[in-house]
């Protein structure tokens, strides 16, 4: 008898999804009757992801969990998939679609957490600049919105956000240029996972570590190292491992007819976590053991 196959379709190549993959692997070890896979579209574009899902359905996949490249406006495309196989969303939700449930965090909430970190790092107020890959992308917008919401009313201000089109060279240059343009900036926020290490490197080269505060998102090794070192004030991480693990289990259960895991509002929020010097070691070792598959 053929195994049923479940697919986790992500929105682009990123280390972030490596952690989710670890969760999927863990789920695989507990679901021997299923074939689990994690699929990357070759480019982070809605059309390409859509085609990937169409092809997966055509290839006989039984259920799909997707981090839609563009959830807000892909409702119909998602519905088309949802008509054929059970569909779950993760990472960023498409609440109006016919998806069965959403597993993930809320970027606005993550942004608010980061805003909290900023306020804590700059008790006397100051000016911040954000760095991000695609400033117009939903996740970036929501995080920025969260940060601004948290900073509202305080003496800290987010004065500018520079985009780099996910080009590392430009990401680093943006930090350098910002430093050249306004040397008395007080803090820098790395909104995409790779932005924080670039900030860290530039400030290190300029001898400004510690003088300019760094707040980051996600768990790049350099970011965690900086937090450990105390030069990065803190970082806000999500829990993709749980998304992968829980999501897969949920889908398998659903296919077997057990629908109890799906709440009425369809939202399974896995909260993010604020990592500071105090809890970074614990977090790192946990992450390592998860990726190693233990």
């Amino acid at each position: 008898q053929e195994k049923k196959s479940l697919a986790f379709v992500v929105n682009g190549a990123s280390d972030f999804w490596k952690i989710a993959e670890a969760g999927v692997k863990k789920a695989q070890s507990e679901l021997p009757k299923y074939e689990l896979s994690l699929k990357y579209p070759e480019q982070s574009a809605a059309a390409i992801q859509q085609r990937l899902m169409d092809d997966l359905v055509a290839a006989g996949t039984d259920a799909i969990m997707v981090s839609a490249v563009d959830p807000k406006t892909s409702t119909e495309a998602l519905d088309r998939i949802a008509k054929q196989v059970p569909l779950f969303t993760t990472d960023s939700d498409a609440p109006n679609s016919k998806r069965l449930a959403y597993i993930g965090s809320s970027n606005v909430e993550l942004g608010k957490d980061a805003g909290g970190l900023i306020k804590k790092a700059l008790p006397n107020g100051g000016k911040c600049v954000g760095f991000v890959g695609l400033p117009g992308a939903d996740n970036a917008r929501e995080r920025i919105e969260g940060i601004k919401a948290a900073l509202a009313g305080s003496k800290v201000e987010l004065v500018d956000v520079r985009g780099d089109d996910i080009d590392q060279t430009r990401a680093k240059r943006n930090v350098e240029d910002t430093l050249a343009k306004s040397p008395n900036i007080d803090c820098m926020v790395g909104i995409y996972s790779y932005n924080t290490p670039r900030i860290y490197e530039v400030l290190k080269e300029a001898g400004q570590l510690g003088k300019i505060k760094i707040i980051g998102f996600d768990e790049d090794p350099i970011t965690l190292g900086g937090v450990k070192e105390g030069t990065i004030s803190g970082t806000v991480v999500q829990n993709p491992y749980e998304w992968g693990y829980k999501g897969m289990k949920l889908m398998a259960a659903y296919l077997e007819g057990d629908k109890s895991g799906i709440p009425a509002n369809g939202l399974i929020i896995v909260p993010g976590q604020v990592i500071e010097k105090s809890n970074v070691d614990k977090f790192e070792s946990e992450l390592k053991s998860r990726i190693a598959g233990k």
């Binding site: 699929k39 990357y40 059309a47 055509a58 290839a59 807000k72 400033p135 992308a137 917008r141």
Partner: protein, 329 residues
Amino acid sequence: MLKKDLGLLLLILIVGTIVATINPRFLSPINLSNTANLIGLFGLFSLAQAFVIISGGIELSVGSIIALLGVVFIDLIANVGLHWGVAVIVVIAIGILMGMVHGLLVTKLGMQPFVVTLCGLLIYRGIARFYTQDATAGFAFGQSFPTLEWLTAGRSFGVPHSTIAFAIVALILAVVLHRSVYGRYLFAVGKNEEAARYSGIRTDRITIAAYVICCGLTAFASIFIAMYTRSISPASHGNFYELYAIAAAVLGGCSLRGGEGSILGVVLGTILLQVLQNLVNLLGIPSSLNFAVMGGVILIGVLADQQLVAYRQRGGAPRAAPAPAALQS
């Protein structure tokens, strides 16, 4: 020319048979229909590209045009509230205007097509991103244009309308290119612009027309693509599509030296590229290898084709295409 196309057809059939053997779902109606839909979408602007390539030029701004006009189209009907029919006309008119500008810069100001359209690639992408402030353009929930959607993204008897549009456009362009006076002039201009001018051909007009056809048709394609994705993030929408288009045209026998190519070839080239994409997904090949598979097949395809040609006229120089090297683009 026919033999070349036959070879390509054979290659498609071989690849198709192998995929179908490994995964029979390749031939399932839904998969065929999905693939046909994408062939239609990508085919439209690949045909457009072929015209410019035959004229001896190149159009690198395809992807950016698709992004900019897609954004404009969706904005016009979803936010501005223009009737979609008017929006279609506006978008195609902008496309034609872009083609005109490219053509004028190439002919009247003597700029190199690569440079002109490279600047187009940068500028249009920049405008698209600025226009939406880098935000994604899309429809609000429930916003729906039944007729437009049926026309662009619908299917009749399982055949996607984009495929039908592609077939009709291909037929018209085949007549224009291979039977009409304009097509003959285009080949002449692509082969040797100076000699064409000495024969009384208004070469500038022919070249400009090629760019107008290219950008106008790309604008038309951008509407289908926009209605397929229904959401356009201006920073990434259509990225690298110019490479798809050029690859399809070259696979289909167009020479970047100009003056060579056929519509049938481009159609087959598009089909091969889309079947390859489908194959990567269906056979569970890591998507990271998608690009590599595409590159490998183009390389092998072009190479095999050249070696076949060289073999047929064996005894020839080792260079399969012994064109004077000054013509190497």
